[in-house]
């Protein structure tokens, strides 16, 4: 999807405010949003790729007006309804049925989640098509679905710096089409190849690209 979230290289957002911090949470509700997101994610109700798909799909004008955790809240509402865990009606008027489940994520499981996480690295997948030093082209594709192939590298030439190994493919995992494991490479692009002759001749951008995003240069 060519969404507003894919904003690398855009102009117009103004200066960065290095003092903009104030701790991770600015309101109690933000803490609740983070906690309920992790509790529902940890229960396997959806995966992180689906979260990103839903967030980036927020209409651009709304996305930019919303605060960070407001986007988390919107995403939780949309995704939980998509998965039929809740309905919009229930948000307004309460549970539709008296049947009560037991929470999957207990305190013990929550501790496991934060301490060990959940890698998306996989042990098996197709052989890599590329290796360190190869010249590659990021494909000029504009899928209507979620992808992590940023617009600013599409059609550009780069060099494989490293093969990170095999990982779950977000483009399929975000829409119930399975993990489609494949190699992920750190690909280095010269700043001038991305941004033109006015860019620094020395600088570079390195981004992690899935095998499916690449073709030989």
């Amino acid at each position: 999807m060519n969404t507003i979230a894919d904003m690398g290289g855009m102009h117009g957002f103004g200066p960065v405010d290095p003092m903009a911090d104030g701790g991770p949470f600015h309101a109690e509700w933000e803490k609740r949003v983070l906690g309920l997101t992790f509790a529902t994610l940890g229960a396997g109700l959806y995966n992180v790729d689906e979260i990103r798909r839903v967030t980036e799909n927020i209409a651009p004008d709304r996305y930019l007006k919303m605060s960070y955790f407001e986007r988390w809240l919107e995403t939780a509402e949309v995704l939980l309804a998509e998965k039929k865990t809740i309905t919009r009606q229930e948000l307004a008027t309460g549970p539709a049925s008296v049947e009560k489940q037991t929470p999957v994520v207990t305190q013990e499981i929550a501790e496991q989640i934060v301490r060990f996480g959940g890698t998306s690295r996989m042990t098996e997948g197709p052989a890599p098509r590329f290796e360190r030093g190869d010249n590659v082209l990021a494909r000029n594709i504009h899928p209507a679905h979620h992808t992590r192939l940023t617009r600013y590298v599409r059609g550009k030439a780069g060099v494989i710096d490293i093969d990170h190994g095999i990982f779950v493919f977000p483009d399929t995992n975000s829409r119930g089409a399975g993990p489609k494991p494949q190699h992920v490479y750190g690909v280095r692009f010269k700043a001038q190849d991305l941004w033109g002759p006015d860019a620094s001749p020395k600088d570079s951008v390195q981004i992690d690209l899935f095998d499916d995003y690449l073709e030989p240069a």
Partner: protein, 199 residues
């Protein structure tokens, strides 16, 4: 603003969150104490001091530094740090000729076990959009002017690898203990938007 300040009505967002959380609790989908536990963990149990310990240790122990650069996750785990959003760590060494800086242009991916949750500026459209295209201008806004003979390498953490910058040990710190070095390591230096100094 105190969350016990009842003289102000809860915001619309607070009400929306309350409605969602209440519904999920009533249906038995989540445990509200678990919600609290997750938030408390990220507010109090992880933060940049973890990453600073990794950096300071690498500065004094060359073998550890070599392991850190070869396998970030494993070496960081030696110090007891790891977990959610730190499962696949890559440590980037700043050198005389290369200065690394990390961003997630697409969202806010960040190495939580070593740095905690990201600061607001890291998640801002201004940083996400600009640091890939004009890193030197952005770093100057942080007060760091990158020398002309140094390459700036921007890492976009768009997949599940998470990056931690290993800044250069400042001049004038010869013989310093690890504990003393630890105090020099700023969060910004581990993201790449600054460098540590002994001053």
């Amino acid at each position: 603003m105190s969350d016990h300040d009842h003289s102000e009505p809860p915001s619309d967002l607070a009400l929306r969150v309350k409605a969602l959380e209440s519904l999920l609790v009533e249906k038995g989908i989540i445990d509200p104490d678990v919600v609290t536990a997750f938030a408390d963990y990220y507010e109090t149990k992880v933060g940049p001091r973890n990453g600073a310990k990794v950096v300071a240790h690498a500065w004094v122990d060359a073998d550890f530094k070599a392991r850190l650069l070869a396998n970030g996750t494993a070496a960081i785990a030696e110090l007891g740090f790891g977990g959610l959003q730190g499962e696949e760590m890559v440590v980037l060494e700043n050198t005389e000729t290369v200065h690394n800086v990390v961003v997630c242009t697409l969202c806010s991916c960040y190495p939580w076990p070593t740095l905690g949750l990201p600061p607001a500026w890291y998640k801002s459209p201004a940083y996400r959009s600009r640091v890939v295209i004009e890193p030197r201008k952005v770093l100057a806004e942080f007060g760091y002017d990158v020398p002309d003979d140094v390459e700036v390498r921007v890492y976009d953490s768009n997949a599940e690898l998470r990056y931690l910058v290993l800044p250069r040990r400042p001049d004038g710190t010869e013989g310093w203990s690890e504990e003393r070095l630890l105090e020099l390591v700023t969060r910004n230096s581990m993201i790449g938007t600054g460098i540590p100094t002994a001053a």
